[in-house]
Amino acid sequence: MRRLTLRGMLTCMVLAATPAFAQDITLTTNASGITIGGSQGAWSTGFGSVNGLGLGTPATGETILSGTGGKLYSSPYDIAITGSTGSIKAVVKAYVSTNFAHNAILQVYSCLASCGSAANHTAMSTNSGSPTNIVPSPGQHNSTVTARLAIFVSSQNGASAFTGADSATITLLVSDGNGPVVHTYTLTLNNPTTNVQTAVSLSVATAASGRTVSAGSDFGLSYGTVNGLGISPGVGLTATGVSGGQLYSTPYLLQPSFSSFSSTTGTLTGYVSTDFTHPSQLELRDSSNGSSYSAISKSSGSQTTFTSSAASASTVTRYLGLFVANTNGGGVFTGADSATVTYTLVVP
């Protein structure tokens, strides 16, 4: 009798324990995502080289989204749920157990739905007491759930800027929702290691009421038809009589962007790298205010400085003037001509 009772108690304990430990998950690579490696319960993945402007081609499986003050590198991954049938469902939560060393620059994000938008990504909790829902309660039966993992890369510059390698570890908690955690796994973001790089960009754009700047090779601005008398300037142009001819001018925008530099300002210069074929009749001039112009340098070695304090994401308005001589006589030129201005943004 005593032996039978003990056997019965053991049977009951086994029956009671089996459902609690049945839920399990396996992280796997999504067909459109970054590779999930490592071993069961100790997975690894990584985003590789990233930058705060999202420039360059992201690694396979990564999508770059624009966030506030930086970029999100986002990737789907799959969570294969097993052992969850009937009344047993799996709930998965996660938190960043080892944060990036430079967590002012890099942060782990998560997204569960409508993840094409950065706004639907949320920072993953760094608190084990209040982890982030990955497969929220009441949980899921056996199935494969696709979620997204992301890292936010700040575009900040200055003393706190960072470039180089960093990694973080996420701890995954599997439970039935109301019960105890039955599995604790890790996903380490070190395969490949996250490598923050500097990024620099300079665009030329159309100013309000200015001549259209097109995104040609690299950028283009057409003055259309001009003449030495300033008759009928095109849209966005102002013709002003100056010594020896006319000055057709337009405001335009220089848009510098850079990230992860110790300096918060850069220097913007430019020069006429390819001059007009008829430089005696046509000349490019620059102005900061639209009223006082000077010829743009034609020397790469001594370029015209537009500003030495260009801040990232801060637009610089300049005025580009085209001088058209009012000369007559043999050999005078009419027809099409072009010149190229090469701008250089240097961030020290």
Partner: protein, 200 residues
């Protein structure tokens, strides 16, 4: 014998003319294109003589001599006048100096010619009013000659004119002392002169 070749790559890869990563410099270009055309303009303006008639920029330009009469009794509103050589028989004249400024650019020639003719003559007072002109300050009424009314043979205003250099010419009206009970011989009237500048 075996050779071991080590190939090292840098990570300064993804770069374009407008942006770059793992770099501190970027140099995009702006191509500026333009088409230069010939241009030509002729402007009329008030003469330099004190009291010269004002030239206004109405359609395209206009000038008004105000009240005139064949005996030269009316003091000229602007400009000057000549009394008739034979009052009651020959006309009086009211005239003013004015400026013509030819402007032209990107022409193979450095000089231009300007001609003019009366393209719309006086209407109701055509029998008593005529447009007259002179290339230099007229010393007397005889120095003012009639302006052509034919587009085919316009009056020469100037030749070998340089761009940007204003020239002074004289324009006026003669008033015949005609009396008539059957036709209109007083009142307001206007005429139009068309100028043509040509750069060969």
């Amino acid at each position: 014998m075996a050779a071991l070749v080590l190939i090292a790559g840098t990570s300064a890869g993804a770069s374009a003319a407008t942006s770059a990563v793992n770099a501190s410099t970027v140099s995009p270009t702006l191509q500026v294109s333009v088409t230069v055309q010939k241009a030509i303009a002729l402007t009329l303006s008030q003469g330099a003589t004190a009291g010269a008639c004002n030239v206004t920029t109405a359609s395209d330009y206009s000038i008004s001599f105000g009240n005139v009469d064949a005996l030269g009794i009316n003091t000229p509103t602007c400009g000057a006048s000549f009394l008739p050589t034979t009052p009651g028989v020959s006309p009086s004249a009211y005239y003013t100096d004015y400026k013509l400024t030819p402007m032209f650019t990107n022409q193979s020639s450095t000089t231009a010619t300007v001609t003019a003719y009366v393209s719309t003559n006086f209407a109701t007072l055509a029998s008593i009013l005529s447009v007259v002109q002179a290339s230099s300050a007229p010393a007397n009424i005889g120095a003012l000659s009639a302006m052509s009314t034919s587009s085919g043979s316009p009056t020469s205003i100037g030749t070998t004119l340089a761009s940007g250099t204003a020239i002074t010419r004289y324009i006026g009206v003669t008033v015949q002392p005609t009396n008539s009970g059957s036709s209109t011989v007083s009142g307001s009237d206007t005429a139009t002169i068309t100028y043509t500048m040509t750069v060969p």
